[in-house]
Subunit: 351 residues, 4 copies
C-alpha cells in the first residue's frame, strides 16, 4: 500500500513519517510540501532517517495520485478541500487531518471557519456529507468502508472518548457539561508564531478561545449526535508550557446520583473493552500526560462527588498521536483491513 504524506514537514507529517517508515504494511511513496519542496528528506531531518531518502515534492493532485494509493493530508485548514475531490476522482482514499470535512454540513464549516471560508470558495457539501468522522471508538465500521475520513481534532478526541459512554447511555445530564482542556504547545504547529515562542509561553499558563473555540462546535456536533439531543457545553482550552500532551478534565451531573465512582469506572471499561488503547484506571489513580507521551494510548479516570451526584472524568492523550497522526494511522489500518493498532505499539519511555 503506497501512502502519500502531504504536508510532510509539519508536526503531523513528521509523526506520519515516524509511524510509517518501519511499518511493513505500508510504503511511504510520496512526501509533499510547499516551503520544503525540492529538498531531500534526510537533509532536512537527519535525525529521522528515511532509507528511501525521498525528495519533498510540490503538492498537487497529479503528483500525489501518480505516486500513491492513499493520501494522508496533514495540511492547514482549507487546503485539503482544494485537493480532496481530485484525489478521490483519481481513485485514492483520503485521510484528512484538518477540519475541512469534520462537519456534516458545509454551511456549518463556513460558520465556524470563517477566515478559511473567505479564502477557499468551497462547493463540496456532498463530500462533507460523505466524509466519515474518523474516531474509531464510535465509527469503526463506517471507517472501514469509507473513502474519505475526517480525522477529529485533538481536543474533541480527548473529550469525546470519555463522554461517549455516558452520553450514549443517558447516564449524565446533557446540560451543564464543562470541558476544561490543557494542551502542550505542539498543538499550535510548527509555523513561526510569537505566541508559541518558548520565551512567551514558557513558565506560564493561559486560557484562550473562551466560549468560541472552534473545537467546541465540533465536540457539540458529535456529542449531540451520540446523545440524540442538542448539547451545548462549555469548553476552555489552555496552553501549557510543555511540548506534547493533552489533558481534559470533564465535569457533568449524573442523572442517578446514587452511582458510585466504581460504577462509572466499570461502565467505561465495558464500553471500551475492545479498544486496547483505551485504558480505564482504578478509582483514585490520576494519569499524567507524561504517561501517554509518544504513544497512541488514552488513559481515563473517573470520580463521583457523592454529596451531589457530580462526576469528574480525566482523559489524557498525546496530542500529536491519539490526538492527530496516531489516530490517522488507526483509520488507515481500519480502511486497509489491518488490525486497528498495528504499528502503534509505541513505548512511552518514561520519564
Amino acid at each position: 500500500m503506497n501512502v502519500a504524506i502531504v504536508g510532510a514537514s509539519g508536526y503531523g507529517g513528521i509523526q506520519a513519517v515516524n509511524l510509517l517508515k518501519n511499518n511493513k504494511n505500508y510504503k511511504i511513496s510520496y512526501l509533499g510540501g510547499n516551503k520544503s519542496s525540492g529538498s531531500k528528506w534526510n537533509d532536512i531531518f537527519p535525525f529521522i532517517y528515511l532509507d528511501s531518502d525521498l525528495f519533498i515534492d510540490k503538492i498537487s493532485v497529479d503528483n500525489i495520485s501518480n505516486n500513491a494509493d492513499i493520501a494522508l493530508l496533514c495540511l492547514p485548514n482549507g487546503i485539503s478541500s482544494t485537493l480532496t475531490r481530485g484525489l478521490l476522482e483519481k481513485g485514492l482514499k483520503v485521510i484528512d487531518l484538518s477540519a475541512d470535512y469534520r462537519y456534516k454540513s458545509l454551511e456549518e464549516w463556513k460558520n465556524v471557519y470563517t477566515k478559511e471560508a473567505s479564502i477557499y470558495k468551497r462547493n463540496d457539501n456532498d463530500l462533507c456529507k460523505e466524509a466519515i468522522y474518523g474516531l474509531p471508538e464510535i465509527n469503526k465500521d463506517a471507517i472501514s468502508k469509507g473513502r474519505l475520513i475526517a480525522c477529529p481534532g485533538c481536543y474533541p478526541t480527548s473529550a469525546l472518548i470519555p463522554l461517549v459512554p455516558f452520553l450514549s447511555q443517558g447516564i449524565i445530564e446533557n446540560e451543564g457539561i464543562v470541558i476544561d482542556a490543557k494542551s502542550g504547545t505542539s498543538g499550535g504547529g510548527r509555523e513561526p508564531n510569537q505566541k508559541f515562542l518558548l520565551s512567551e509561553c514558557g513558565e506560564g499558563l493561559s486560557a484562550y478561545g473562551l466560549i468560541n473555540h472552534r473545537h467546541r462546535s465540533e465536540i457539540e456536533q458529535i456529542a449531540s449526535f451520540i446523545s440524540g439531543n442538542e448539547i451545548q457545553l462549555l469548553f476552555t482550552p489552555h496552553l501549557v508550557p510543555m511540548v506534547r500532551g493533552m489533558h481534559s478534565t470533564i465535569y457533568a451531573r449524573l442523572k442517578d446520583p446514587g452511582l458510585t465512582s466504581d460504577d462509572c469506572r466499570i461502565l467505561m471499561e465495558n464500553f471500551y473493552r475492545n479498544f486496547s488503547n483505551i485504558n480505564v484506571l482504578p478509582v483514585d489513580t490520576f494519569p499524567s500526560t507524561k504517561w501517554v507521551k509518544n504513544t497512541n494510548q488514552n488513559y481515563l479516570s473517573v470520580k463521583v462527588d457523592n454529596r451531589n451526584g457530580r462526576i469528574i472524568i480525566l482523559s489524557v492523550i498525546d496530542n500529536l498521536l491519539k490526538g492527530q497522526t496516531g489516530q490517522a494511522i488507526q483509520n488507515l489500518n481500519i480502511m486497509s483491513g489491518f488490525s486497528m493498532d498495528e504499528g502503534l505499539e509505541l513505548t512511552n519511555n518514561y520519564p
Copy 2:
C-alpha cells in the same frame, strides 16, 4: 516593627525575606528554622543578601518573642498550633500562613487535616474562632483589628476573589460551581519529594486530589459564608510544569441569563475599585500566569455564554505572592496601619 520569619528557608520564608529586606517599615529581627538552624543566612542564600546576615535560630516561643513584635509563621500544617498561643500570650501578633486557623471550628480542621490532627493534639478551638481569615478583599477591617490572622491557601485565594462579587450579590447560582485550577510546582514546597522532581513533573500535566482536596473545604466554608447559603462545589487542582503561577478557571450559571460579559466585567471592576492589585481585564483579553509572576497582582477576565447563561471567570496569581507571602505582607501592612500594598509594588519582568 520587628518581624520574625519562622520557617525561613522554605519558599514562604524566602519570599518573606525578599519582600521585607528593603522595606523601611519593618525590620527582619529573627529568622527561625529547624534543619537550617545554626547557619548564617548569607551562607545558605548568597543570592538573597541580607545586610544583617542573621543566624537562623532554633524555633521556639521564647526565641521568637524575645526578638520580635510580630511573627510570620511559614511552617508546615500543624506546627503553628504549637506556637501560636504562646506567642499571643507574649503579646505578639501572629500571621499564620498554614491552614491551622483557617477554619472557624477546630472540629472541621480535624476532619480535613486528619493526618496532622493525629500528630498534633490541638485544644485551641478558641483561637480558631478568634482568628481572622486573611483575605483583605473581604476582611480588611477585621484584619486591622486582629491579633491572629490565618492567611488563605493559594487555591482559595485565586478562586474566592473572582467568586465573591458574584456570590455576595447573588448573581450566580450557588449550585454547580466548578473551579478548575492549575498550579506551578513551587506550591508543593521545597522539601525533597519525588513527585516534584523535574524529571517526574517536567513535560507533563496531571490532576490530583479530585473531589477531596483540602482546599475545597476551605473554599466552600468562605463561599458559603459570603453567599449566606451552604455551597458545595467541584474543585480540581492540576500540577503544571512551571515554577510559579496559578490559574483558576471558574464555571458557574448566571441567575439572569441576560447579563452580558461586559455587565459582569463592570460588576467585578466596581467591587474591587479600591483594590489596586485586582485588575479586571477587558472582555476577550485572557491573562497568562506569566503576567503576574513575581508580583502581588490578580488579573481577572470574565465571559458569558449567551446561549445558556453560563459564565467563565479566569483568575491568575503568583502562588507564592498573592497566593501566599505577598498576601501575608498585605495583612501585615493592614495590621500595622500602613497602606495595604506598601512594599508590594513589584515588577513582573516579562518575559
Copy 3:
C-alpha cells in the same frame, strides 16, 4: 531627563519600560515601534501598566528628538546606524543596544555583519571610532563623557567581566582560552522564529554558531585591547530550554601554575571591589543562572586544577538585564551623573 525607548515592544524595550517606569530620575517620554505603532502601550501590555499610557509612535529622528533628551535604541542590527547621526546632530545622547557601534572600525563591522552590511549602506566610520563600548566595568570614565554608547552583547558581557581581571594583569595565557556559553531563549528575541518555538527548543539543548558566531569577534576585539596582544579564542554558544539566564564557563591556563583557587578568587574580588553588582563567590560555590534572574547582578566563581595550572571561571547573568537593558541603564546612569546602579536594586524572587 526625558528618555526615548525606541523598539519598545521587543524584549529590550519591554525591560527598559519596566526599569524606567518607576525611576524618579527619568521620564519615559517616547515609545517607538514599527509594527506596534499607533497602539497605546497599556492595550498591548496590560500587565506592564504605564500611568502615562503613551502611544507607540512611528520611529523617526524627528519623532524621537522632539520628545527626548536621550535615546535608548533597542533595535535589530543595522537600523540604529540609520538614526544615530541624526539624533546626535539634534543634540541627543544615544545608547545603542545593537552591534552597530561595538567595533572601532566600520570595516570590521561589515566583515562580521555581512547580511546587515548588504542592506544598510553605512558610511559612519567616524561614529564607530567615537562610540564608547558600554561595559562599565572597564569603561566607566569614558562612558561618563560619551554621547554615543555601544552596549555590549550579552555573551561578551558574561565572558569579558570574568576574563578582564586575568587578561589585564597577564595572569593567564592569551592562547587557548575557551568560552563555553549557554543562553536562555529570550536572547533570540520576540520575533516569530521557528527555532525558538517552545516545541522546537523545549526539552532540548544544542550548540550553534561554532567558530564563527558574531560575538566571538566582539569578545576578541575587547580581550585583545585589554591584554595588549591579539587574542584568538574558542567561543561556543548553546541554546538552553529556559526563558532567561546566561552562563559562561571559561577555561584558560595560568601563567603561574602555583596560584590557588583562592588567589584567583581574591584577585577578582579586588578588581571589582567598587562594583556592587559583581559578586565573587567563595571557592566551590557554583552559581545558577536562577540566582540572577530578574536582576542586574553577575556572580563569578573560579577554580584551579592544581595538577596542571588550568583555571575554570563561571559567570552568570540575566541575559536581558546585565546582558542587555540593565547594562544600558547603568550606562544611562553614568552618562547622567547618577550612581551607576540607581534603579537597579532588583529582587531575584527565588525560585
Copy 4:
C-alpha cells in the same frame, strides 16, 4: 534468556523494563527492588504495562540467581559490589550500571568513591581487574567474552566516543582537552532530592563538580589507555532544565593544524562505519539533544578553527539510553550473541 532487572523502579530499571518487555530474545524473569518490593509492577507503573505483571522482589543473590541467567544491576554505587561475586559464583553473567567495576583497580575506585568506600568494605580487586568496560565502540570483542561488564557513566560515554578516534590515532594533543558537558535532570535519579525539584532547577542552569567530578577520573582512565599516555583534562558538567538528554562540547588542539573540518569528519565516519548508532553529521550541522531523545543514537559534529588548529566536537546522547540502559542492552546483546543493536531500533518522536 532470563534477565533479572535489579533496581527496577529507578530510571535505569524503568528503561530496562521498557527496552526488554517486547524483546523476543529475552524474558524479564525477575524484578528486584527494596522500597518497592512486595508490589506488583503494574500497580506502580500502570503506564508501562507488563503482561507478566511480576511482583517486585527483595534483592538478594539467591532471589536473583534462582530466577535469571543474567543480571542487570541498576543500583546506587557500592551496592553492586555486595551482589556481584555471589551472582558470578552462581553462574550468572552480570551487567553492572554503577561505577563499582569501572576502574581497573579497587584502590582507584576507593580514592574516587570515598563515601561509598567508607560504607562498603570491598575486597574484590580481582573482579575490578576482570570486569570489562562496557563501551562497545572500543571493547566489543572483550564484551562478547566477558561475564562481568561495567557499563560506562553517561558523561564518559558522551565524551569518549568523540575523543577515541582522535586519541587512538594521535590526531590531537593529549594536553589541554576540555569537556564541557550538559545533562538533563534525570541523570540525578529518581530519589527525592531538593536540588532536582522542578522548582529548584527549572528555569536555571548551573555547573557542578568543577575539577573533581567523579566522571573526570573515569574519562581520564579510558582516554589515557586509548592514547597510550597519561591524560589530564578539564571536565565540567552542567545541569540543564530538561528531563532527558546530554550534550558534550569538546575542545582540543590538532597536532596538524592543516586538517580541515571535513578531514576530521571523515576520520570519525570511518572509525565508526560499523556502528550504526553513531552518526557523524555534515560539517556545520549541529545536533540538538532532542534528536536523540528516546533513542540509543549518538550524533557527532566536528569543526576546526583554521586560524589556530583548534577543534570542537559536539556529541549528543540520551543520558538514560546510550548513556545508561540502552548501552547496557547493547552489552547484553553482544554477550548473548545477538546483533548489537537488536531491540534498540527506537523512534525519536520529534518534537
